[in-house]
């Protein structure tokens, strides 16, 4: 081959020249060194090519946190039911025997109690996904459903879902669910649907059953809220002796709280409650009433508004959802009011003149 016609680019893309850059003491390396000493007129081009190949080879690898690989390996083992090591297996077996015995004992305590005690976590192997404060995670479940976990939240699922059982997950914190529809189109009735096409979220005393839809569940200490974006959702609350059922429509927010345990329902703008999955809140002529409600629902803030005129305003714009302070700041500026925050208590005051 006639390399005397080579341009800089030709040198760069030549695999044998690349091998020379990688290792001078290789077959290709020795060839190019000999060739270049015979063709000094090509030195300038070869120089440039060498520098570029060398520069491109030295790219910075992406940083990988030390904990990540072991954590992800463990996650894989859990999902595939691969035991980590033998000793651990024995411990797990013993634990299972112990929990089994406990379960039997509990059964004997009384049927009434047993009825109340819905499982707080999945039986058998579980996969657990958690987020730190301010972190968001997007999970794909074995059935293809997607969950976006908000900060400081945990989602537990059975490690494997069999086609015969309902899909069940346990949530603390906040998650946005996009559930894959498994039922044939004819099945529209959640209560009457066969167990194996149902998807059930257990959160803060509520069982949220769906067939396939999008909704947000926010379960923080003191209260649990479900907001339905699309589709149909059946919410069930079990208390000591009662059982409450409610069928939600898109745009509904259903809440239960320590103060008012009974299910309450009101209409909201569902987009406001799922915007956090995009890392921002978007207001489009949104009434302040809705914003105040959002501050209470999503951030747990108690809002006191002294001037009713404030509530009649609307807001336009976008803010990041990192902390409520950013939102409060933006509100104060755009409404030209004063906002005083004291812990979880917030007061909206007319700007003093």
């Amino acid at each position: 081959m006639d390399f005397t016609q080579y341009s800089v680019d030709d040198f760069v893309v030549d695999e044998s020249f690349q091998a020379f850059v990688a290792l001078a003491d290789s077959e290709a390396g020795r060839f190019w060194q000999a060739w270049l000493s015979e063709h000094p007129e090509k030195k300038a081009e070869a120089d440039q090519a060498f520098v570029l190949v060398q520069g491109l080879r030295q790219a910075r690898p992406y940083p990988l946190a030390d904990y990540l690989l072991p954590q992800e390996l463990q996650r894989l083992r859990l999902a595939l039911n691969i035991p980590a090591a033998r000793p651990q297996l024995r411990v797990q077996r013993r634990l299972r025997v112990l929990t089994g015995t406990l379960a039997v004992l509990l059964l004997l305590v009384g049927l009434g109690w047993w009825q109340l005690h819905r499982p707080a976590a999945p039986a058998g192997k579980a996969a657990r996904f958690a987020t730190r404060h301010g972190q968001q995670r997007r999970l794909t479940l074995p059935d293809g459903s997607v969950v976006v976990l908000n900060g400081n939240s945990t989602l537990t699922t059975a490690a494997q879902w069999t086609p015969a059982s309902p899909r069940e997950v346990w949530l603390t914190g906040e998650g946005y669910f996009q559930v894959t529809h498994l039922a044939p189109p004819a099945v529209m009735d959640i209560a009457g649907a066969p167990a194996n096409v149902k998807f059930v979220v257990h959160a803060g005393g509520l069982n949220v059953a769906v067939l396939g839809t999008e909704f947000n569940v926010n379960s923080r200490p003191g209260s649990t809220k479900v907001v339905l974006s699309s589709g149909k959702v059946a919410v069930e609350r079990q208390a000591l002796l009662t059982r409450e059922n409610l069928l939600m429509q898109p745009g509904d927010l259903v809440e239960t709280s320590a103060v008012q345990p009974g299910l309450t329902r009101r209409h909201v703008r569902p987009a406001l409650y799922s915007d956090w999955t995009q890392g921002r809140l978007k207001f489009d002529q949104t009434p302040m009433r809705d914003v105040v409600q959002l501050l209470r629902d999503s951030y747990g803030l108690q809002v006191e508004v002294t001037d009713p005129a404030i509530m009649r305003q609307t807001v336009v714009g976008q803010v990041p959802t990192t902390t409520p302070d950013v939102l409060l700041d933006a509100l104060a500026k755009s409404l030209e009011i004063k906002i005083v925050r004291n812990g979880s208590h917030v007061r909206f005051l007319p700007a003093s003149r």
């Binding site: 760069v12 990688a22 001078a24 270049l36 060498f50 520098v51 080879r57 990988l64 083992r77 996009q178």
Partner: protein, 201 residues
């Protein structure tokens, strides 16, 4: 004689968990880097690697022998990411009404940046890389950073070898046009200069 990759792969196909985990551990870092370059979404990348390996394990009885594991995993990873992005876009398409591109974004951010550059050089190189197309960037990265040959890159990206050669060639040409000669000479620093000097003497 089969390569060590081929032997390890066969042990995994035979259902040996240790071999499977060894493959996971040996390739996690580079798959993570590749996924981030394709999506710039850490969680999505982690999920895609999980899905990829879960699928491998479940389908091991239907998989065939491979000579080299890394290009096989890269190819599968690319499929996984593309499928996931497509699914996401389909979902967002349902919500909004405007059309979206089904294309992997190959991020120029922070990639291909040699470690010992000044801020100014860094900026200039980033800008130069930003002028390349997604595919040109990806081909150049797989070529120079991951060190695949043209044949493997063509398997990973699902294009014929000549197209890959063209992508790399065009990419290099554009890159050189955007970088000034002083910039190229500045790249020549430290150990690089020493190595270079030794070669030309």
């Amino acid at each position: 004689m089969p390569s060590s990759d081929a032997t390890l792969w066969n042990r995994f196909l035979a259902g040996e968990e240790q071999a499977f985990e060894a493959i996971f551990q040996a390739h996690y870092r580079e798959l993570f880097g590749y996924g981030l370059r394709l999506t710039s979404d850490e969680e999505l990348t982690k999920d895609c690697i999980q899905n990829l390996f879960q699928r491998l394990w479940h389908r091991r009885q239907h998989l065939s022998a491979v000579e080299e594991i890394k290009p096989y995993l890269f190819k599968s990873m690319r499929h996984e990411v593309a499928a996931e992005i497509k699914a996401q876009q389909r979902r967002s398409l349902l919500e909004s009404n405007y059309p979206v591109e089904f294309e992997i974004q190959y991020s120029p951010e922070d990639f291909l940046i040699a470690q010992q550059l000044t801020a100014e050089q860094h900026t200039q190189l980033l800008a130069a890389l930003g002028r390349l197309s997604n595919r040109q960037r990806e081909a150049i990265y797989l070529k120079f950073f991951d060190g695949f040959d043209y044949e493997r890159i063509s398997e990973i990206m699902g294009l014929n070898q000549q197209s890959i050669r063209n992508l790399v060639h065009q990419g290099i040409k554009l890159l050189r046009q955007s970088l000034t000669l002083p910039m190229l000479l500045l790249l020549l620093s430290g150990q690089l200069a020493a190595a270079f000097k030794g070669l030309l003497n």
